[in-house]
Amino acid sequence: MISLLRYHTANLFRSHRWILPLIAYALLISVGGTSSHLAATSPAELARLDGQALASGFDWSAAILVPVVALLTRLMLTAEPGAARACAAVARGPGRAQLAALLVAFAGGLVLGLAGACYELAASGHQTALLLPFLAGLGKALICVLVGSAVGTLFNPPLIRHGAVALLSTIAAVVVALVSSISPAGAALRGNGATVQSAAWPTGVPLLAAFALVVISWGVSCWLAGRRAD
């Protein structure tokens, strides 16, 4: 498995496929989440607004992980020509080769999520207690990485093999994942932006739901990997 992870990671980096998601994430993160708190009149008010700004920054950096990780997953799933995939699949099994590609995209999403949360923390210039909001932000980022990975897996090959259909349905699914109330990502983001100071961790339900989505989508993808023609 390690050799497969190494192979997929090397292919991701050498093919420069990582650049697009990284730049997209960096751009989106820098345009969003910049709310000012000049209107504060007292130190207490300032702290409250500060906390709100930080929470909305975390929300924003987590939310854009959904499209970015879905894109990264798509890039990983379409990185290899069918013949090369078959050569690697013969050695370790098609399912495992598929899982390795999905894991590499997921790990990339985790790195981006951590970097995004750190950026928000640094950009906020925040004074008060940081640990709890930071953990809450990381929790939301994790949920969004999971949802992004599930969306990217469900709406790309081998589940959806037609290029244009895959792309459009991925975009549609990202929108649904962010705005719909039943989506774990939507629930996590809308959950408690204002009161994030007190809530250290987003409710466990969205997190569990996101995990379940990933397990199901990865399972289906790996199951189909050796069963469908390229």
């Binding site: 192979y7 090397a10 093919s15 050569c87 050796g226």
Partner: protein, 298 residues
């Protein structure tokens, strides 16, 4: 290795490409798969290699396998050498055996000069060499070659022939498809003929059987009219029938009578097959001529 009622179709409403293949594959055998285009050779090869999972049945006891695809587009970001190192590791090799094996196979296939070049800049033949090297690196016990010789220069074809001989001599099984009927003809132990989704097992020249059509064998070409579309598969299954054109038709009208069907029959079996055909209701033989199996393959 055993194939147990193995079948494959690419979707629930799709026709079976191969169906109900049960066979014991012994170690140390050289097996050639034959059949017209679209007869399921590549599908069966990929299932035996483990790149494709069957829709029905199963493959058990598969030894360490390696696979050379029909075309290997070098659309990967690696150089040839880097790709081989990655694939070698995936096949379970570790240093220092890995470096030695990569150097050996690049050299034997005449690809050392291009080892540092990015795969996407390599020619088709050079990419094919990389695909072959990838498979041979790990000395697999099951080597599956899908027209691996196509696009290779003379020297590399010779090197691949030699490598196949070595694998078989060391107790490995080699399965291959190639459009040249003379490929390794004298060393083939088994010939698997695919037609209509089914397989017939014939001994190869090394096991006392006939060489494949077109090498030494001459054939009789028969043209028919009035055959029911649904009987095509049955035709391909008759003893001595080397190829059938068309090899498949749409399934919707099995009773439709085809205007023209062309069969190639091994000369020795041609009389028996003709007698059978004349007995089929509504079938008329419109032409019988002499030809070669090689001609029929086109």
């Amino acid at each position: 290795m055993r194939l147990e009622s193995v079948g494959k179709r690419y979707g629930l409403r799709q026709p079976w490409v191969v169906r109900n293949v049960s066979q014991e594959v012994a170690a140390g055998r050289l097996i050639r798969l034959e059949g017209p285009n679209g007869s399921g050779k590549s599908t069966l090869l990929r299932m035996m290699a483990g790149a494709l999972l069957p829709s029905a049945g199963r493959v058990t006891g598969r030894p360490r396998a390696a696979y050379v695809p029909e075309r290997f587009p070098g659309a990967l970001a690696f150089s040839a050498r880097e790709y081989l190192f990655h694939l070698g590791r995936i096949h379970g090799l570790s240093e220092p055996r890995l470096s030695a094996a990569v150097a050996e196979w690049l050299d034997r296939l005449g690809a050392t000069e291009y080892a540092a070049a990015p795969l996407r800049t390599l020619s088709k033949g050079m990419c094919q060499k990389v695909a072959i090297a990838q498979a041979l690196l790990s000395c697999p016990d099951l080597l599956v070659l899908d027209e691996a010789w196509t696009g290779l220069d003379q020297a590399a074809r010779g090197a691949l022939d030699e490598a196949v001989g070595e694998r078989v001599a060391q107790g490995g099984t080699v399965l291959f498809v190639d459009h040249d009927p003379a490929r390794l003809a004298s060393q083939v132990d088994e010939r698997w003929q695919l037609a209509g989704g089914a397989v017939r097992y014939l001994p190869g020249a090394a096991a006392g059987g006939q060489t494949p059509p077109g090498v030494a064998e001459s054939a009789v070409i028969v043209e028919l009219t009035g055959l029911e579309a649904g009987s095509l598969a049955q035709l391909g299954g008759l003893d001595g029938v080397l190829s059938v054109w068309p090899d498949r038709v749409a399934d919707d009208e099995p009773a439709r009578r085809l205007e023209l069907v062309r069969l190639t029959i091994a000369e020795a079996d041609s009389d028996a097959v003709l007698r059978r055909l004349l007995g089929w209701d509504g079938v008329h033989v419109i032409e019988v001529r002499h030809g070669t199996g090689r001609e029929a393959a086109r």
